[in-house]
Symmetry: C2
Subunit: 227 residues, 2 copies
């Protein structure tokens, strides 16, 4: 029995969809579109109209039957839902091939998330600046995480070091980890881990490429009769 509390629980899937709605709404705003219907948003993000409406109700957004949803209003409410008022600081742990690519990837984007520090054990990397982010030695992890009030971490280290570093991160105050290491992390309650295991994902794609199964989203396409 989950505690439920006074608010209904938000599932990771809902948050991920919010993130996608935000991106689409930014595009629509850029195109000076003033209002959207749920079925338009659904088409743009590969979902369904009822799903979109339900998501928007979840975060107390409302539209009107005549015009749909006001893009600017919707965007503001989704931002308010997704973003911390003062932004959030992120640490990258592990500056190998993948770590550097991740830095480069996020450096280009204007997120409310800021990669405030990177960490590695390799002296070659320490004190260098990669894609605008300073790399520190792992020894400084706890102090810098505390100092910069970092509460999110991206873990991209060798498998053998993953659990130990996760423990250190949690001890230092990190409450969420995006885990690129193909190792299941054990974390205390209250800490959120999302696995981004590329090997597992690729093997899954290969399996269905071979076996020819559809994922559910494709099945839904039938309902989006547009044009």
């Amino acid at each position: 029995m989950p505690p439920k509390g006074n608010k209904r629980a938000i599932s990771p899937k809902v948050v991920a969809r919010m993130s996608r709605y935000r991106r689409l709404l930014l595009n629509l705003l850029h195109d000076k579109t003033e209002a959207v219907y749920s079925h338009e948003l659904a088409r743009l993000c590969g979902s369904t109209a009822p799903q979109v409406r339900k998501d928007l109700v979840t975060i107390r957004c409302s539209g009107c039957p005549a015009k749909g949803y006001n893009v600017r209003e919707l965007l503001e409410q989704i931002q308010e839902f997704l973003d911390a008022p003062d932004g959030q600081q992120v640490a990258l742990v592990g500056v190998g091939n993948l770590g550097r690519a991740i830095l480069g990837y996020f450096a280009g984007r204007r997120l409310h998330l800021n990669i405030a520090a990177a960490f590695d054990r390799d002296p070659e990397k320490v004190d260098r600046v990669v894609h605008g982010c300073r790399c520190h030695h792992l020894d400084e992890l706890a102090s810098i995480v505390r100092e910069k009030r970092i509460d999110v971490a991206i873990l991209a280290v060798p498998a053998a070091a993953a659990q130990e570093l996760a423990d250190q991160l949690v001890l230092a105050g990190v409450r969420g980890i995006l885990n690129f290491v193909p190792v299941p992390l054990r974390v205390p309650r209250g800490v959120y881990v999302e696995d981004a295991d590329m090997t597992s994902s690729l093997e899954c794609v290969a399996f269905f490429a071979r076996e020819g199964a559809d994922r559910q989203r494709n099945t839904r396409e039938r309902h989006n009769h547009t044009g």
Copy 2:
């Protein structure tokens, strides 16, 4: 109503878990462990014993109450389930920061999946070899995909080019796409797409780091009373 057919459908989640079991079993084999119980596997991969047993039943693996599951046998059956008999060829489309990191990541691993070719539009990258993989011009995509019998693709290109390239890939015979581009791809039925949207994942982690929600897996920890 999904067609169901004569075999029960396999869900992506099951396949992803199989991939994780495989990795753990390889470790166990390396340690010369001969047999495992479901609860040991469950602990190692952050799942539950009934879940593991059900998964193994799904692919017709059986264990015996006295010894659990034979590691070597289990591994063989999971390999048979996951891997194509003759291997599968993969194309990487987009050799930017992320693309190169992906190449480096998979180059180190011995998978039954082989990244057979990379593609980019940039003349600077064409004909270069990155992490052991030759980079071709996008113009050659269709011919090389057909020639090398590639049926899986990793998409890591700018958002604006994603849909067009996905269309080309599908036309050339690709049946599965691992999509790192934060754009929903429209593909015909029978083509499987898995989204690996890092921005969305990171925003999700940041949200729960702030809101302090547990993911379900953490809740399950209570059942694994070990030691």
